[in-house]
């Protein structure tokens, strides 16, 4: 039985004698592990950022989409044109007898239009909504007022504009009471939103109209892109979903749930969706980075084979004084694992440092709500993977070393 301590000591001495070679050898592993650490940290950071925006919807919010539930990400864009959600649905959902847990219901239409004020133009995101939109999306006003019930009932030509829209069209001038032109119709600015920064919907770039006005004059449609419902408590979300489904199926004369012409998203399903997407992306990037680990591993194998050849006499001598094949194998395997493990540790440290720098840049320079995260699982993964690479790619050279007959090794010039 050979002592682990001795093997490690020998390994360490061997590496010390070949410092620059060892450094170059592990470079591939360092790069690979650094990339994986960076991707894992940034992936987690991005996921947290998106999730925090999804969570800003509130756990009590349910969004009803028109059309069939999209099978893939791509087809969801086309679903915007489905026309199955209408005013009648809205009114039915507002009835306490149909959906007792639903406290607020609000439709939402989304589109784009060019807003004009005097000589200035701006391509704004048009939201057609109602009074509850402000609460549901936690929208803060800087000046003026939000859309109210009167506006909706009277199809009023009023608009609430985001901070970016205000800045682009009016600059430093007073905007409240001024009229902006969209799709050949004038709208009076009644409110200006506070700057909100990057979020799920970029409210800074929106012009919010009463949904009745938006349907009639901007979009020219009689249906809704979404219906948003708020439930009285988080526990009631599932019950509310059932109520909404039954109400809408009744309204649409649907008996077979697989033929639903609407689909429902809650914060929970949105979170799951975001997690699925970001996890798949992160995994994909890790797979790409893992290629460099394979390249690094081949580098390790190459240098280990060189080392085995160089040390043929040493191997022969060790065998002559009683080393078994297993002893020799253990020595070279340990060396390979030690090399890659060292590369792994350096990679973890570099990966964490780069992630921290990236997080600082993203939060301070870009202005995102980015929080530095370094999953502890990444550390273990990094160490495990790098040691595993060492084992895998060290196996062949170690076997070559162990296979040498003592006399061939001793005779080697």
């Amino acid at each position: 039985m050979m002592k682990i301590k001795y093997i490690l000591k020998t390994t360490f001495a061997g590496l010390r004698n070949n410092k620059s070679r060892a450094a170059l050898t592990i470079l591939g592993i360092v790069i690979g592990i650094t990339s994986i650490m960076l991707i894992m940290s940034l992936g987690k950071g991005a996921q947290d950022l998106i999730l925090s925006q999804v969570q800003s919807f509130g756990a009590k919010t349910i969004v009803v989409h028109p059309g069939r539930r999209p099978e893939s990400l791509m087809s969801s864009a086309q679903m915007m044109n489905a026309d199955s959600l209408r005013e009648r649905d809205l009114n039915e959902l507002k009835k306490k007898t149909n959906a007792p847990h639903v406290v607020k219901v609000e439709p939402l239409n989304v589109g784009g239009a060019t807003a004009v004020y005097e000589n200035e133009t701006y391509g704004a995101t048009i939201l057609g909504g109602g009074e509850y939109l402000q609460e549901i999306y936690d929208i803060r006003l800087k000046e003026g007022r939000f859309i109210n019930l009167d506006d909706i009932q009277s199809h009023a030509d009023v608009v609430v504009i985001g901070s970016k829209v205000k800045e682009e069209l009016f600059g430093g001038d007073e905007a409240i009471g001024q009229k902006i032109r969209m799709k050949n119709r004038n709208y009076r600015v009644v409110g200006i939103l506070q700057k909100k920064g990057q979020s799920f919907i970029s409210f800074d770039e929106t012009a919010i109209l009463p949904y009745t006005t938006a349907q009639t004059y901007v979009f020219g449609i009689k249906y809704f892109h979404h219906i948003i419902a708020e439930v009285d408590s988080e526990d009631a979300v599932d019950a509310a979903i059932k109520d909404i489904e039954i109400t809408l199926r009744n309204n649409h004369n649907i008996t077979d749930p697989t033929k639903d012409d609407f689909w429902i998203v809650t914060q929970q399903t949105a979170i799951e969706q975001v997690k699925t997407i970001t996890n798949v992306l992160t995994l994909f990037l890790i797979a790409v980075a893992a290629i460099s680990l394979v390249v690094g591993g081949v580098g390790i194998m190459n240098i280990m084979l060189v080392s085995v050849t160089e040390r043929t006499r040493e191997i022969g001598l060790r065998k002559a004084v009683g080393a078994t094949n297993g002893n020799i194998m253990a020595q070279f395997l340990t060396e390979a694992i030690f090399l890659t493990g060292l590369g792994g540790i350096i990679g973890i440290i570099l990966g964490a440092s780069f992630s921290l720098i990236a997080a600082l840049v993203l939060s301070k320079v870009v202005g995102l709500d980015w929080i530095f995260t370094f999953p502890i699982s990444a550390t273990f993964l990094g160490l495990g993977v790098s040691a595993g690479v060492g084992f895998l790619f060290g196996l062949y050279p170690a076997r070559q070393a162990a296979k040498k007959s003592p006399i061939d090794a001793l005779r080697y010039e």
Partner: protein, 241 residues
Amino acid sequence: MNKMALIEVKNLEKIYGEEGVETPALRGISFSIEKAEFVAVMGPSGCGKSTLLHILGFLDRHSRGNYLFDGKSIGEYTDDELAAVRNKKMGFVFQMFNLLPRTAVFENVKLPLVYSGIKESLWEEIAMKAVREVGLEHRIFHETAKLSGGERQRVAIARALVNDPQVVFADEPTGNLDSKSGGQIMELIEGLHERGRTVILVTHETYTAEYAERIIRLKDGLIESDLRVSARHHKGDRFIK
């Protein structure tokens, strides 16, 4: 003949076969060596004496014939058992010293202990004893590359001694040394024999061989003669190369 043979070979053959051309190195030799014997194997280069030593020392395998070590046929040993015998019962001294590069004297002497199963806490003491036997206690932390040839060979002898082997194999131990260092090395090797160890010495120098009790002469892979030495050299005699 009450003494039990430590080493017994019968019709031992070794054929090197490279690229289809068979080159016989040993062509059927038989002899036995008793415990505590001091035997020199002599002959011109290419006679097969080093090959014989390597086979006897479990460093190489013979092609045909039979080899019994300690009463057991070599074919009955597994690879790990061969390694264990090399470690515990055999010591090797080579012409080229074969020390670990860039390593201190002490580490070289300890090397067989690493594979011995002896507790690491005892290594220092055991290695120190071996170093003292060859008179290098003042050099233990020197790198071997900085030592003279004679000193290096003494390190090799200390390494051969450290596991207290039954038999020491010496392959041209004085071949790379001047006569003064050579003499010292031969005195050490004779000392090993005096303390009851079997010594098998390969040399092409008659004077060196005459330290042994018995000389086996090889020629073209066969034994030419196997004689007892009438006038042995001893410690204190002037060593002549």
